[in-house]
């Protein structure tokens, strides 16, 4: 029974660690998407409205 509990505990920690990875990957993806839109996309509307922020935050602007 102790052995079973260990196996289950290991499975749980593996599941939790997969959940961790899922969360980390999601955060990275969301961060990169927002960053691309605000800092790098060259669409005119985005470029004009984000203009001062891009210069002020040292993104290559135009």
């Amino acid at each position: 029974m102790k052995k079973d509990a260990t196996v289950i505990a290991q499975t749980q920690s593996k599941a939790a660690s997969n959940a961790d990875l899922f969360g980390i990957a999601g955060a990275v993806l969301l961060g990169l998407t927002l960053l691309f839109a605000a800092g790098f996309a060259q669409a005119n509307v985005l470029h004009d409205t984000a203009h001062d922020m891009r210069h002020a935050m040292s993104f290559p602007c135009h």
């Binding site: 499975t11 999601g26 955060a27 998407t33 605000a38 800092g39 984000a50 203009h51 001062d52």
Partner: protein
């Protein structure tokens, strides 16, 4: 034997939820707070210089005029003239810092997986490293540019910027978390790689704004980046550790 079995399924879901909530709340609260404060600092210190440089970009002011004079008037237009423009700046600053916050908090979570718990004081150091990654290191090869500065094509410059950011993250990570001098040394070499390759530059100088204005701008951009990022790191670590205690 049945007792642990009943725990196996329900335990997984709250752990996942807790983790996602911790990432989401830390990143959004810290990102918006640091982003708005960063924008206020920029409106005070940086945006007036951008607006002054635009006078040279448009030709309203001329430095090195045809009469041979190198003098031009000093002074920026008032930031109160175009309120909508600055509201956009505040908004985009909040979005950008939220994006940084998501990446920073992902770093916190990754560090925790390898047994490095983040503290509030540690958060300030994480923040300072963030400023080095996105502002200081790229500025060594490609200083922040005033409007009107003519540089190489924007595509290659963006690529070099991203390369520099990635190399600096990898290098600082090796220095911070590597367990030996050799790993730290390799980290330092990785940080140097984009600078050895060299940022894209033109063969000639084209600047229309006075050199004093450009240098003041660069110094202030880097200073504001350092302060804003330290605040971001502190805020993110505060929310992160608070959620940890729940």
């Amino acid at each position: 034997m049945t007792q642990p079995m009943t725990c196996a399924t329900p335990c997984r879901s709250p752990a996942t939820k807790q983790m996602l909530k911790q990432i989401l709340t830390s990143a959004v609260f810290a990102g918006v707070a640091a982003g708005v404060l960063a924008a206020l600092l920029q409106l005070w210190l940086v945006v007036p210089l951008i607006m002054e440089a635009e006078l040279y970009e448009s030709g309203a002011r001329v430095h090195f005029a045809t009469d041979g004079s190198t003098q031009s008037d000093r002074g920026a237009p008032s930031v109160w003239e175009e309120p909508l423009r600055h509201i956009y700046t505040i908004g985009f600053s909040a979005v950008t810092f939220s994006a940084y916050a998501f990446l920073l908090v992902a770093g916190f979570a990754l560090a925790r997986r390898f047994g490095h718990e983040v503290t509030v004081r540690g958060g300030a150091v994480w923040g300072l490293c963030g400023a080095i990654v996105v502002a200081l290191a790229p500025a060594v090869g490609m200083p922040p540019e005033l409007p009107g500065a003519i540089g190489a094509e924007v595509g290659p410059r963006q690529l070099w910027y991203l390369l520099c950011v990635l190399c600096t993250i990898a290098g600082l990570g090796a220095i911070a978390f590597g367990n030996s001098g050799i790993v730290a040394l390799i980290g330092a070499v990785i940080i140097a790689v984009p600078h050895l390759i060299g940022a894209p530059h033109l063969d000639t100088y084209f600047g229309v704004a006075p050199a004093e204005l450009a240098s003041e701008f660069v110094a202030r951009v880097l200073g504001v980046a350092a302060i804003s990022w330290v605040l971001l790191g502190l805020f993110a670590a505060m929310f992160w550790t608070q959620q940890e205690d729940l």
